[in-house]
Amino acid sequence: MYALPGRHAILALFIVFLLLPIYWLINMSFKTNVEITSTMTLWPLRPTLANYRVIFIDPSWYLSYVNSLEYVVINTVLSVSFALPAAYAFSRYNFLGDKHLFFWLLTNRMAPAAVFALPFFNLYSAIGLFDTPWAVALAHCLFNIPLAVWILEGFISGVPREIDETAFLDGYSFPRFFVKILLPLIASGVGVAAFFCFMFSWVELLLARTLTSVNAKPIAATMTRTVSAAGMDWGVLAAAGVLTLVPGAVVIWFVRNYIARGFALGRV
Amino acid sequence: MARIDLVDLAHAYGGNDADPSRFALKPTSMTWRQGGAYALLGPSGCGKTTLLNIISGIVRPSRGKVLFDGKDVMALTTQQRNIAQVFQFPVIYDTMTVGENLAFPLKNRGLPRAQIEARVAEIARLLDLSPVLDRKANRLSVDAKQKISLGRGLVRADVAAILFDEPLTVIDPGLKWELRSKLKVLHRALDLTMIYVTHDQTEALTFADTVVVMHEGSVVQTGTPEELFVRPAHTFVGYFIGSPGMNVLPAEVQGRQARIAGHVLGLDKSYGAWPAGARIEIGIRPEFVAVAAPAPGLLSAEIERIDDLGRSRFARLRMGGLKLAARLPKGLSIAGNTAGLVFDPAQIHVYADSRRVEGMA
């Protein structure tokens, strides 16, 4: 009734705009370096899996994926589990300095990674966590915990506190109430928080590269090192890039209905 | 202003070839006269909102058509049908003042400014919104916002009908009465066709001249509030209207007699043979059943509790497996739990398969 005129065209154009560079990357990943540098074709003349084979065979490549996943998972678990009790506190209670604390937490989300690059480098070296996934995981907590608290507080506030009171009257201890009653009710909120923590940790480069060198080198570092080398291995670089899209694409595909439903509820 | 005719209207949300028993609105035809105040009354899911939305054009019916003053309006949009609709929650334009909200429909039609201002002032006066005309609409209380929604509907002088979809749902109970009276005043002042959907019988009975009772997709009775109360055409109407609702008791009816639980009641009219397998019941309002001291000639029942409604008292009784309510006359007190019941024969209705049967004199 009040649809935007021309909306099909607008949406189609935008989707093409979004998919074009990705398609180009995928296209390149199936070409040999020779073909890439010598011709310009919209699809590989001689498609090859050689680039992908390199990544799956060369440890420095596939291990870096593993390293990345490692710190992302650690960070997600840490952020969400620390954020849960705090979100509950912000939702249910007034306490001394609560508004200031909440604001301070939010400002950390707004902190430029560049400011923390050197200090974190010193800090984590000093406590011996440099070049381990823990350094990156803890560093990312700086941004992800405020985000998780913000998201979870919203969801917990959607649960009436009568439920808490009933549980306590029924004799539940606080930890038991939290795990057995509250968590199932905010399951989708935990999912959303975990998703965003995963996402922000997965995409970040600066700290991930600064705090690692050899052992815990993430995929981002391996790829950017390829950039500065002479004699660029475009094919492998493209393949590596395509592989980094996979976790994101898989996750969205699985949660697409939750996202659609979440929007319908107007929860954002 | 329009007379609205519904011709063989029916709707199934699943499409036209859905099983007839699953129609949200079963085939119905009726006429709503111009200037009438109608209530569409029924419980949730009875089809009343569907009917309203078909009249306003929001829903296209699977079958049948709607006529305004004899003209087929099926092809017209809601706006083209010149309908005003008030929804369950206030619909106002946040960024505008109250006055701008009321003026909006008129501005969109390109009316001259002086005319718009005059009309807005008049409607604002009718709705007691004059003091707040220059305030931002989204700062007012919920009932004021609902009045603005209503005002936007009224501001168009040639509006065919105003449709209300449970408009008092979000209003504070204390203010409901005030708004309801306001609607009645408006109806008399403006001579508009008003159709009011509700599940609350008090709202329906106080607002409307004619009440349409719906049940499971069908219209079961149309009539004045008094007719619905005194001669319910369907057991559902008897049960739904009045508080407490009508007593419905299975009985054997033959000639001038009804037999319940071994006891015989005299009837005002005479009834003949029944079709095979028909379910026969009698209905009588608690107001017309009096509690008395137990006596051999009277039906006896156990008192379960007594409801004191202020102006009158009702007793809830049990007779065998049947439950009924009866009026407790002033000053009467019963020793023990058992009471006798006195039935007013003139007020006993007979129902076959839930539909009222007129007896012979």
Binding site: T210, I252 | S149
Partner: protein
Amino acid sequence: MEKITNQKAWLLVLPVFALVAFSAVIPLMTVVNYSVQDTFGNNKFFWNGIGWYQELLDPSTELGGRFFASLWRNLAFSAIVLAIEMPLGIVVALAMPREGWGVAFSLVVLALPLLIPWNVVGTIWQIFGRTDIGLLGYTLHWLGSDYNYVASPLDAWLTIIAMDVWHWSSLVALLCYAGLKSIPEAFYQAASIDGASRWAVFWAIQLPKMKRVLLIAGLLRFMDSFMIYTEPFVVTGGGPGNSTTFLSIELVKLALGQFDLGKAAAMSIVYMLIIIIVCWVYYTVMTNAGEDRGSARGGP
């Protein structure tokens, strides 16, 4: 919901507070420390007071010059991308389907750029814009342009802006879409009954209801664009020259490249202060806008 006052809630908040304080306060104290000291590189530090700050905030010095140049670049960049991404996001949100299979499909496609590691975003556009192996660069050359993001600052800027629009418009679109979906159908029906035009529906119904999400989207986009590092760094490395050297890039160059601790520290502090002030202003505006509607805090 009424909140009880209970100081024991601090126990629940303590782990978060400790972890974030550890991550934030200690490094920040280090930074503040460095910002007021100088060293000859032999690990001996001596007090420099506000010396670094004076140098930083004086455009005539080399440090100050670089700082202000980067700052203006950042402000220009944020202004441009916001001016493009906000309207674009709104339009795309209005264009998205409200029901049917198209909903999930559009959501997935729109979310895709948001989940790509930022260095890969940079790599994608680095390749895409090259005139020898990239579709965009090649096509532009084929059409007669002399586009070259390595040599021309203008082309470098255009490429980075296009990349940011590509990367982040979806976020604005998704947030606006969520805001739009919360509008009940009855509002559109009422507007239709009132004879409202399409434009009037946008101004009077849709835009006001999106005000909150637009504030969130605007804040997020300003912040993230003001702090941008990875994507432009991968594509241009800050060049050609220093035409795309944004504040973060400048800072990392100073801190990790030149190990100019004092200068980097002072720049860090000023950088953060700018962001915190803007954040505070936005937060206040948002909570006031929330109180207009009677809600207590400008939360989710």
